[in-house]
Amino acid sequence: MHAFHQVIHAFFNPHSYTLAMPDVWAGFQLNLRMMGIAEVLVLVLALGIAIVRGLPGPAARPLRALAIAYADFFRGTPIIIVAFLVGFGLPGLELGYISNRSVTTYGVIALTLVYTAYVTEVYRAGIESVHPSQRAAARSLGLSYMQAMRYVVVPQAVRRVIPPLLNDFIGLQKDTAIVSVIGVAEAAQSAGQFSNRNGDFPSYVVAAVFFILITIPLARFTDHLVAKRERLERAAAF
């Protein structure tokens, strides 16, 4: 019974919470920044790669192969290793601008590389789920291949993949803690330092709560978007 109380105390000592809060919050702002930038980059890059992967014709074969190789490599490599490769590799290359970025930037690059590979597949599934007759209708109206993608196929595809997209974003948000291995002083890192100094664990609980708190509104917002779209587009009879 004594051990149990010790654990409870080590995790839930109210006094430590007040102490840990500012440190972890300061770190968490870095997480928020990394998430925000990486998410925007991923959304744009992944869509581009998904479209390249779907390009028709033999002329686009090398591009398609490149897109496939990219997805294979970065989906297959653990993110912690990508973080090391980027965070320690790029500075070592002495490439001027690229090699003189902050660890936070390298963290964002690692996250973007890995999650773009995932999200490319999500987009691709969405694009393929749009019935070919939609593309035929668009093309038959004189729109070019790219216009048909831009105005007809991609908007429908994106709407369909919002839930799995959100799923990957939650993963990305949590993995901002993993890229801290290259020295980013984000929430999990700060929590660890606080825990070492103070000899207890409330800092970790605080960090966990922060991560959860930003996930929930995002999930509800997505549900709301999906439901609103459904209401607009579906027949009133349903």
């Binding site: 035929a136 209708a137 038959s140 587009e233």
Partner: protein, 253 residues
């Protein structure tokens, strides 16, 4: 009806295969401007494929197609430019579900022809008025009945001011009571002199609007002629067989 000069649509010995299956077999057909040609025949006889070839949605493997003096089957043809002159309407409407009715009609005038939003709307609204659906301009297609959706699909094609309309079994997916409105619109188009090729199962309608009826069987034009002749006095045994089966089916309804 004018038949002078070279035909508006010339189809010369067109053949096509899906793998080993030959779906079109040396089809030859000329359509003068302002004429209406109806393609009849069983499912799988090649009617839809022929229409899709005319709009370059299917690749023609043999033979050639010339529309308005331009060879479609030429390798360097500007596909997008040619398609702007040729409207096609599909059995399943294929409206864009993420756009309102008005946006559906305005999309290609804006993006393919480069009209401004206002210009495109000026073009789209009268068309919607003509089919009695201006009030539905801001609704999404799924809120419309099948017949309404199909009429929107027709005016969406008309918004490009095509010189040729291809109608691919456009009433086949509709409840019988919704067919009449759609056919009425097609009749109007025929009256205004639109050149049209339609694949249809509506024999009564084909008899009424067509200048020429072609009976397709196994990818070949088995028999063609004026509607009175095809429907009242078919020469080919296969045509007679097909028509008597259709007639029986209509009696059962």
């Amino acid at each position: 009806m004018s038949t002078n000069g070279s035909a508006f649509v010339e189809i010369n010995g067109v053949s096509k295969w899906f793998g080993d299956l030959q779906v079109l077999d040396k089809v030859t057909l000329n359509v003068p401007e302002h004429n209406v040609v109806c393609l009849i025949g069983a499912s799988g006889s090649g009617k839809s494929t022929l229409l899709r070839c005319l709009n370059m949605l299917e690749h023609v493997e043999e033979g050639e197609i010339v529309v308005d003096g331009q060879r479609l089957t030429h390798e360097k043809v500007d596909v997008n430019a040619l398609r702007r002159k040729i409207g096609i309407v599909f059995q399943a409407y294929n409206l864009f579900p993420h756009m309102t009715v008005l946006q559906n009609v305005m999309l290609s005038p804006r993006k393919a022809l480069g009209l401004s939003r206002d210009e495109a709307e000026e073009r789209a609204r009268p068309l919607l008025r003509r089919i009695g659906l201006e009030a539905k301009a801001n609704e999404y297609p799924d809120r419309l009945s099948g017949g309404q959706q199909q009429r929107v699909a027709i005016v969406r094609a008309l918004a490009m001011q095509p010189k040729l309309m291809l109608l691919d079994e456009i009433t086949s997916a509709l409840d019988p009571q919704l067919v009449a409105d759609v056919l009425e619109l097609v009749r109007e188009l025929a009256d205004t002199g639109m050149t049209m090729i339609l694949a249809t199962h509506e024999m009564g309608f084909a008899r009424e609007v067509a200048d020429k009826v072609c009976f397709l069987d196994a990818g070949r034009i088995c028999e063609e002629g004026r509607p009175q002749q095809i429907f009242s006095d078919p020469k080919e045994a296969r045509t007679r067989q097909f028509l008597s089966r259709v007639l029986e089916a209509e009696k059962l309804q």
